[in-house]
């Protein structure tokens, strides 16, 4: 007798062929014949067909203008190339200046920028971010004034790469990492390699912290802690680099806070709905789809104005 899993595979094959490819009368006849061969076939196909029909809800995730996706990507690559060129020229130009001014990069709410430094270091700025390149001879130094950035550092032991932010420094030891700074609280996520986190001007000196891949360090003026995240969770945390936000059992209130970093029209969640939990992947720049989905899934009401979108029971 056929293994159930083989039958299920075959049934899934029929289903996807009928759904996604040219489907002729001959195909239908062949499917009918297969179904008539055994109840096990019919049951497996029925189950997949009924289950597949229920995934209809996923269509709510459809991007608003799917056809434009490739063009956007092209423009994005061009933008990266242009920025890379600016980065190189900028770095070269400052080389000749006696008293260099810091070079500043900024993104708007919802914006994203990639900078490639002359040494090959890549920096990706997330939404609403301000970063300064500090020119010093002994080390490479940037200041993250606000927001979040991903650093892919060309390691050079002789000239360490240092990110300064909110009274702390993150020193690269051959690394890919992100730093997010918001109102005196910083989060460092270590993707690859190693980095060292130091508090520089807190009242009580703190010991350095050596970060390994998967580490997420959270530091404020007087505390520092670290937890380990799975690489898949970490890669979700970095979804913003592709314009996506991933929620895992996140309350609507927390999800709205995250999305609001990327959108000028702010989501407001009423107290009655704030603790509902949601999972999934959303476009960072599309809070409207998120709101509509929350409405459909939880039966909420949407009240929209020019400044905000309110979700309530």
């Amino acid at each position: 007798m056929n293994d159930a899993s083989d039958i299920e595979f075959k049934a899934a094959d029929w289903l996807q062929r009928r759904q996604f490819w040219n489907w002729s009368d001959e195909d239908q006849a062949a499917l009918d014949a297969w179904l008539a061969e055994a109840s096990a076939h019919r049951v497996a196909f029925l189950r997949l067909k009924a289950g597949y029909a229920q995934t209809e809800r996923l269509v709510a995730l459809r991007s608003t203008k799917p056809e434009r996706a490739p063009r956007t990507r092209t423009r994005w690559f061009q933008a990266v190339a242009a920025l890379a060129a600016i980065g190189v020229i900028g770095a070269a130009a400052t080389f000749y200046l006696a008293k260099p001014q810091p070079i500043t990069y900024a993104t708007q709410v919802g914006g994203r920028q990639t900078i490639t430094l002359a040494d090959g270091t890549r920096i990706e700025l997330n939404t609403d971010t301000l970063l300064k390149l500090n020119k010093t001879s002994a080390k490479r130094s940037v200041t993250l004034v606000k927001g979040e950035a991903y650093f892919q550092v060309q390691h050079d032991a002789a000239r360490p790469f240092v990110v300064e932010t909110a009274g702390h420094t993150v020193t690269d030891l051959g690394t890919k990492f992100t730093v997010h700074t918001e109102q005196g609280r910083i989060e460092v996520r270590l993707v690859e390699g190693e980095a060292r986190l130091d508090a520089v001007d807190t009242a009580k000196p703190q010991p350095s912290m050596l970060l390994k891949p998967g580490d997420v360090a959270v530091a404020t003026a007087n505390s520092m802690s670290v937890k380990r995240e799975s690489m898949s969770r970490l890669s979700d945390d970095l979804g913003w680099r592709r314009g996506l936000i991933v929620f895992h059992d996140t309350t609507l209130a927390a999800a709205a806070d995250k999305l609001n970093r990327y959108n000028t029209n702010k989501l407001v969640i009423d107290a009655g709905a704030a603790r509902l939990k949601i999972n999934g992947t959303f476009r960072a720049d599309d809070a409207q789809t998120f709101a509509q989905m929350a409405r459909d899934v939880f039966g909420l009401r949407i009240t929209a104005t020019a400044d905000n979108t309110r979700l309530s029971r």
Partner: protein
Amino acid sequence: MTEAPDTNRENANRDAEMTASAVEDWFVREVLPLEAALMQFLQHNWRNKADITDLRQDVYTQVFDAAQKTIPDNTRAFVFQTARNLLINRLKREHIVPIEAVADVEALNAAIEAPGPERTTIARDELRRLQAALDRLPPRAREAVVLGRIEGLSGRQIAARMGITEQAVSHHLITGVRALVNEVFGEDRKRPQ
């Protein structure tokens, strides 16, 4: 989706066709929603986890065949009774499992009768569970499903977009469809997120 008439039964008269489709309707409407509870039952009572999908399929097939004669009044009791008998028969046939295992199964009538809360919150959780299932797929399968199911592309367009063969697209779609359907019927619900 409407089911095409079954052209393969030469003697199928109108009544028989209606019966066949009535059984299918019943199966989809009343049996499949029990899958999460059924899988839980099978997992609790069968030690070799590799057999579970096989067992589920056998239960479905037996239930479906039996319903061709008469559709049972109490679907839930009927499904679990079938599952229980199937497990006991397998245990007896295989002669390899300690006697207590049979006792365990026989003690399960109480669990069988209890109505499950498992379908009550389904609509609310459906989307987030589907999204979670989508996120758990291998990246290529996920991409194929997103392009096909969500963006509405055909298989050929998916192949062009992903730069892979049509055969590879089919393969990814099969993987994706199976995983999503498992999620719909709840068997993956207990998997750690």
